[in-house]
């Protein structure tokens, strides 16, 4: 059974999300799947128990625009994904720098099957 998602490009994200918000959707959450050399990011929205899903696919190492400026609620989940997958979000309101859940002892992105870069280098920017 397939999930019906609307595939969009990374650049369209902000506009698309804003337009969803305008028609009364609320942000539910964001799921991320490691596809090997890229990530699938699926944004889930809900309006009166009807769901809509947006999907963007980004290459590893790419950054993604944050939607925490549109939905404050996206703040936690974006930080979480940053922890787990090492995806950087542009314009995150409150950035926990990859230590939302994880301590320094965890030296790689646990949810990636293959780490994005060398662990040391990957954590550098944070």
């Amino acid at each position: 059974m397939a999930l019906e998602t609307k595939n969009i490009a990374k650049t369209q994200l902000q506009a698309e999300v804003a337009s969803l918000k305008a028609v009364g959707y609320r942000f539910v959450t964001l799921s991320c799947v490691d596809l090997g050399d890229s990530f699938d990011l699926i944004y889930h929205f809900d309006r009166e128990l009807q769901m809509t899903h947006l999907r963007i696919t980004v290459l590893k190492g790419d950054t993604v625009p944050s939607i925490s400026n549109i939905y404050f609620a996206a703040l936690c989940i974006e930080n979480e994904i940053k922890d787990f997958f090492g995806i950087s979000f542009d314009g995150l309101i409150l950035d926990f720098g990859g230590h939302f859940y994880l301590e320094e002892e965890v030296k790689r992105y646990p949810f990636c099957k293959v780490s994005v870069k060398e662990p040391q280098a990957a954590k550098e920017g944070n």
Binding site: L102, E103, E105, V106, K107, R108, P110, K113
Partner: protein
């Protein structure tokens, strides 16, 4: 054994104050520990109070798996308890890491970080089992030194710490 020593021992056995630290438990064990305090099990019968402050407590009850972040807290909480003290690890998670042993952020059971006196198995441990565990720990409490022999304690702590420090480089499951 003088009268006062005896009095002291009786008092220790009769008034174990506990502090409960939830160390990454799934709440299953937590609520069972709390259930012990409630009318049906009422551990206050044994003088047990959930005092919530390690500085006042005699027994540290730990539920849940240790992860990298709460390990430090667990350590700190334990450090702040004055002697004599005892540690009880509750549940599969507390004793060994339970079903989450292999998860990447899990260090393992409580004994990876601090010395554990009593292991209470179960998932979650039944309130009766927890009461049994506390009773078992009372024996420990009675015989434990009070401050005098800090050297062995220090060695013990050191060991545990070292062990924990080595865990830092633990491999993450692919």
């Amino acid at each position: 054994m003088g009268f006062f020593t005896k009095l002291l021992e009786t008092s220790r056995v009769k008034s174990p104050w506990i502090v409960h630290f939830d160390c990454g438990s799934c709440n299953g064990c937590d609520i069972e520990i709390l259930a012990c305090l409630t009318p049906i099990y009422d551990v206050e019968r044994f003088g047990i109070l959930n005092i919530g402050n390690p500085k006042h407590a005699d027994i540290l009850i730990v539920s849940g798996t240790v992860n990298h972040r709460n390990a430090k807290v667990l350590r700190n909480v334990y450090d702040q308890m004055p002697e004599p003290r005892a540690v009880i690890a509750i549940g599969a998670c507390g004793t060994s890491g339970g079903i989450f042993r292999e998860a990447y952020n899990v260090v393992g059971g409580v004994d990876k970080v601090i010395p554990v006196d009593v292991y209470v198995p179960g998932c979650p441990a039944k309130p009766e089992a927890i009461i049994d565990g506390v009773v078992l720990a009372l024996g420990k409490l009675k015989e434990q030194r009070t401050a005098k022999d800090t050297d062995s304690l220090a060695a013990e702590l050191h060991q545990a710490r070292e062990f924990y420090a080595n865990r830092a480089d633990r491999q993450v499951v692919e």
